[in-house]
Each structure stands twice: as C-alpha cells, then as structure tokens.
Amino acid sequence: MQPSFETLRELVRACALDLALALVPYEVDEEGETRLRERLFRSPQDRLQAMLEERRR
C-alpha cells in the first residue's frame, strides 16, 4: 500500500490532524468467497466460457 501508514500519518499530522483507528467486525461474503475460490481453480478458458454462458442466460 502506498503511501505507507507511517508516511500517511506524518502527512496528516503536518496538517495538525491525527488518524483515528478503530476495529470493526470483519464481514465475509461467504457465498462470493466460495464462488471466487472455485473460479480460481478453473482455467482462464473455463472462466471465459462460464462468463459467456452466464451472459446468455
């Protein structure tokens, strides 16, 4: 990630402000994650054919 966190904090502090960090619940889209994992094990050829079939529906 650019700029680094340290650089970003320095920039913000140069403007007389500060960064506030907060922890929030990590929400995972289980269905989307499963589909993504399945696709990654397919070849680009299969991914293309799947998209074209989906498009025809």
Binding site: L36, R39, L40, Q45, L48, M51, R55
Partner: protein, 167 residues
C-alpha cells in the same frame, strides 16, 4: 442463441482476427479481470497494443475484417488523437487503449502479463492481477469498486495458493 436484444459478443472471434494479422497486444479491462478470476459480466474486449509502427499497421487489417466503427460516430480509426479508441464491431465492443490509466502502456504491462490458452487455438497475453488492480484503482470509478475488491482478494488467494497456504 442469444435473445434478439442481446448485443453480439464473440471475444474468441475478435482474438482470432487480431492473431491472424499477428497483432501484438495485451488484454486488459473487464474481460481480463474475468480471465483472472473475478465474477462480472462484460460485453467487450479491451486491448493495449504495442505501439510500434509495424504493429499499428497490422492492427488495421482486423479492424477492417471486423467492420469496426467508432461509437462516437467519427470516421477516423487513428490512435493518435484519442486516449481510448472505442469501437463497435460485428463481434462486439472493442476498445483500443494505447496507455491505460496508471500505466505506461504495452511495455509496462508486458513484464507481468501471462499468456493463456482460451481454446479454439487462441492464446492471448493477459495483464497481471496487480496491473489490473492498478488500472482499475487509478480510474477511481465507483462502479469498479466490487471488481477492485475481488482483484485484491484474487491476489491474496493467488499468493496463498502459491505458498501452499489455505486462507
């Protein structure tokens, strides 16, 4: 057979026409993201051509074969005066992008691109996940946010698979 309202889209036919003329290019945009694993639908092929004069001359051949015409109605198909040559062809949309946002064009993308078989004798160079994320992020369009999130996740999963880890 697609419904009558569905615009034609035959990416393999477009790639075959480009390959017959021995055009050198890299696939980018929505189709490249799909080929890399994202979940989205697209109606077009976006390419970054090598900007050598010889390659640009070759590019004219498939554009003629595909009956390419500009979507803005202008007649010239020259790349000199446009950031993106946005074309309609008989086989679907074709965008020719000499220098995509956030990159320095073909030579920049070529280093990390991979060549993949798409069937029917077609093998194309596809921009890397990292470069696709860089381009999508630079465009800064709200509608690309889900695709950008997926690209980041694809990169994470690729790394974990590469290291034999299971995320």
């Amino acid at each position: 057979m697609p419904p009558a309202t569905e615009p034609a889209f035959d990416p393999i036919g477009i790639f075959k026409a480009l390959d017959r003329a021995r055009v050198t290019y890299i696939v980018i945009g929505g189709l490249a993201r799909v080929l890399q694993g994202t979940d989205e639908l697209t109606n077009g092929v976006d390419i970054v051509p090598a900007m050598r004069e010889e390659n640009l001359r070759r590019l004219n051949v498939p554009l003629g074969e595909l009956n390419a015409r500009r979507r803005d109605g202008k007649k010239t198909l020259a790349l000199a005066d446009v950031d993106v040559l946005d074309l309609e062809t008989d086989l679907g949309e074709l965008k020719i992008v000499p220098e995509p946002a956030g990159t320095r064009g073909y030579d920049d993308l070529r280093r990390a691109a991979s060549r993949e078989h798409l069937g029917f004798g077609v093998r194309v160079a596809i921009a890397s996940v990292g470069d696709l994320a860089r381009m999508t992020s630079t465009l800064g369009r709200e509608q690309d946010e889900p695709a950008l999130r997926m690209l980041h996740r694809v990169a994470e999963l690729d790394r974990s698979i590469g290291h034999g880890l299971e995320l």
